[in-house]
Amino acid sequence: MSKLVKSLALTSALVASAMVAGSASAGDAAKGEKVFKKCKACHAVGDGAKNKVGPQLNEIYGRAAGSIEGYKYSKAMIAAGTDGLVWDEDSLTQYLKKPKDFVKGTKMAFAGLRKDADMENILAYLATFSSAAPSSGSDSSSAEPTAEKEALQTAAATSAPTSNTREGGVFGLGRKATDAEVAAWDIDIRPDGQGLPVGSGSVADGEPIYTDNCAVCHGDFGEGVGRWPILAGGHDTLTDDRPEKTIGSYWPYLSTVYDYVRRAMPFGNARSLSDDDVYAITAYLLYLNDIVDDEEFVLSNENFLEVRLPNEENFIPDARYEEPHYAEKSEPCMKDCKADPIEITMRAAILDVTPEDGGDDSAGVGAVD
């Protein structure tokens, strides 16, 4: 099949499926696609969608709960399916409103959709990928942009130069970056404030933005959901058996918070927040960490450097090679190195946290993130 024929076939297939499926009730599928960004970190839908953290959502309408083969559901979800729960507009609405209330024990960490409009729109969007969805007159708009985007990308690819040369330099390879290109990518912030954009946001502004974008993983108060990072609390725990390394208890610089939120958060939808949103979230995180206590506090590029995090002084240079075992560099002992009888003091088998060893569900100690 030629490329053209293939893409035509693809487009008509998408249009056909959109016509059959239509969209649920009053929702707008195009708006639903935006709402779906909240879900995208864990769920895939559409052509070739695979299970990720959550199951893929093609043909979700009419699907029995917990029925996608190869996806590891919670026991609760499998039981719900066995008891006859089938996903339709009604059950999806109830589930997405408060997942943990509707299926107690579900492992979906999502807190729930609050706005009715978001609910209608996301159901309309999911319906475009389900042949068994209830039909209505309104059109799906999710099909065409995909084809459009493909066309655009192809155009971009053919017009992009494969190699550049220039005057100057040692080899004269590459080309000068434009100011706009540097500005688009160079978004890093340093502790001395270099890179901070002009803008501001208050604790009060930050609360709803945090609740909508961050709380699903980090908890309403920064306490962390599951194994997602804890952002607040943990003061004076750094010498404990289980230190809690939060922004307030551990991080040395506030600039790191702004930089990281702007470059990588919300998880699965990076670079979607405005600079003012990031100021507001950063202000709210200061509030959750009791570093500011006024809900009207406004953080901006003007006052940013006035805020210091409490643990800054406790970071020290690498001194590993002053540790006795390295500093000595002495010839290690080869014969009769231990006087006392050698005894086993600890055994991994007792903990039993090795995967595929019957220990899958128990959690060991430690983290790598």
Binding site: G169, T239, A264, F315, E323, M346, G364, D369
Partner: protein, 427 residues
């Protein structure tokens, strides 16, 4: 207890090992019968097998070749309880199944912070900006016109062994030591690219940045950037795998893996470090004093016995036994590896086999005649600068148990009489 081999006379001891095996005769070990001789003979010899008679697949059955179906156990594995989500998680190289020093591309452990970015090479750009004479943009084709180099380097995650700080937890060197791999990289020296842009005299640090959804950044001191860092697009001769940063990654030899930014899209030159998330909140080593070390870049000398090990028990009973392992140091070459079979009381220097390259894995062997008694196996690496691997208790005495990163303590495997092996600690 079992005698270690005299490394001075390999052929002689090989002969004596064989003799010892003959002396114990067929009594060897019950249960090991697969290749045992029978009166009629071994059926895989005396009977014609399917593969002796029928034709196999022709060429092109697998245009990109795959391992034998009988090697399906040789895979990366993860530890689900370690992280919140598979898209910001880690899996482990099956070190126990491998030999030599090169890690096959499909088995190199993965660590992502925002999943595996899928980037068409035509859509990839590398920018150099900051304190340079001319900010530049390169396409992949531009990069391939610079002079190239090939180097074999290990990449180890700073958190390799991080779950073992408080004691033995995981039964298998895949899990205790598998956040390491070793491949040959092809690329251009970072120094060459920086010179092309012209570093200003106050340029002291470089910030590499990834194009994936995590936009990974780390501060690299200029001295290292100009020393041996590479900007690489090939591993083991073929394009980088997507999970290793296709189409372009930074190579920071001997230093912690987090700095080897994948999907590399930008290099910024600055006069100070940036103190970004992965060098403040993470990858800093909290001591028992409550102080935390930062910029702990070098991976210290380390070794592990990969066989026998918990996932690779001794199945053949007493007699000749190959003890095999890996050693490496971010400081350079490995000078020596000592092995103990009695929990660290006595040590024998092992044989390093194959290439000994700076900042690369080294393979070592100790061939012994196992008498079937219990063993407490340990290995201890020493690098060319005379730094040797400390015990876990020495590390804990110096740092406490909350450091997470840079655990290079000596590993102990407890070999039982039936050949099973367990991760233990000894006092």
């Amino acid at each position: 207890m079992t005698e270690t081999k005299d490394k001075g006379s390999p052929s002689l001891s090989r002969r004596s090992l064989l003799k010892a095996g003959l002396a114990t005769g067929g009594a060897a070990v019950a249960g090991v019968t697969a290749t045992g001789a029978r009166a009629e003979g071994d059926p895989v010899i005396t009977e014609i097998q399917d593969w002796n008679r029928y034709l196999g697949d022709g060429v092109d059955a697998a245009p990109y070749g795959l391992p034998s179906e009988f090697e399906s156990e040789v895979v990366r594995r993860n530890v689900p309880w370690l992280t919140a989500d598979a898209v910001a998680s880690i899996n482990f190289t099956p070190l126990h199944e491998l030999d030599g020093i090169i890690t096959p591309n499909g088995l190199c452990f993965e660590r992502h912070h925002g999943g595996v970015a899928q980037i068409r090479p035509q859509d990839h750009r590398l920018m150099i900006n900051g304190l340079v004479d001319t900010p530049l943009v390169f396409t992949m084709d531009d990069l391939k016109r610079f002079p190239r180099e090939n180097h074999v380097y290990f990449l180890e995650c700073a958190a390799n062994g991080g779950m073992e700080w408080r004691g033995s937890q995981l039964n298998g060197c895949q899990f205790t030591h598998g956040m390491v791999h070793n491949v040959m990289y092809t690329g251009v020296k970072l120094k060459t690219l920086l010179e092309e842009a012209g570093v200003k005299t106050n340029g002291k640090w470089v910030l590499p940045e990834g194009a994936d959804a995590s936009h990974m950044t780390r501060s690299v001191p200029m001295e290292k950037a100009l020393d041996d860092c590479l900007v690489a697009w090939k591993m083991n001769g073929e394009a980088l795998r997507p999970e290793q940063g296709y189409p372009l990654r930074l190579v920071v030899p001997g230093w912690e893996g987090n700095m080897w930014v994948k999907w590399l899209r930008r290099l910024e030159v600055g006069d100070q470090p940036w103190h970004h998330r992965e060098e403040t909140s993470k990858y800093t080593d909290l001591l028992d004093t409550g102080k935390a070390r930062r910029f702990t870049w070098v991976m210290d000398p380390k070794s592990v016995i990969t066989s026998p090990s918990p996932q690779m028990p001794i199945s053949h009973g007493k007699g000749p036994l190959v003890i095999s392992g890996l050693a490496w140091s971010g400081n350079g070459r490995i000078k020596r590896v000592d092995v103990s079979i009695d929990g660290g009381r006595n040590w024998t220097t092992a044989r390093i086999d194959g290439l000994s390259l700076s900042k690369s894995l080294h393979r070592f062997y100790l061939d012994i005649d196992w008498d079937g008694s219990e063993l407490l196996l340990q290995s201890r690496a020493m690098d060319e600068h005379g730094f040797y691997q400390p015990t876990k208790n020495e590390l804990r005495a110096a740092r406490g148990e909350n450091s997470i990163y840079h655990n290079n303590g000596i590993q102990t495997w407890y070999v039982q009489k039936d050949g099973t092996v367990e991760n233990v600690e000894v006092g």
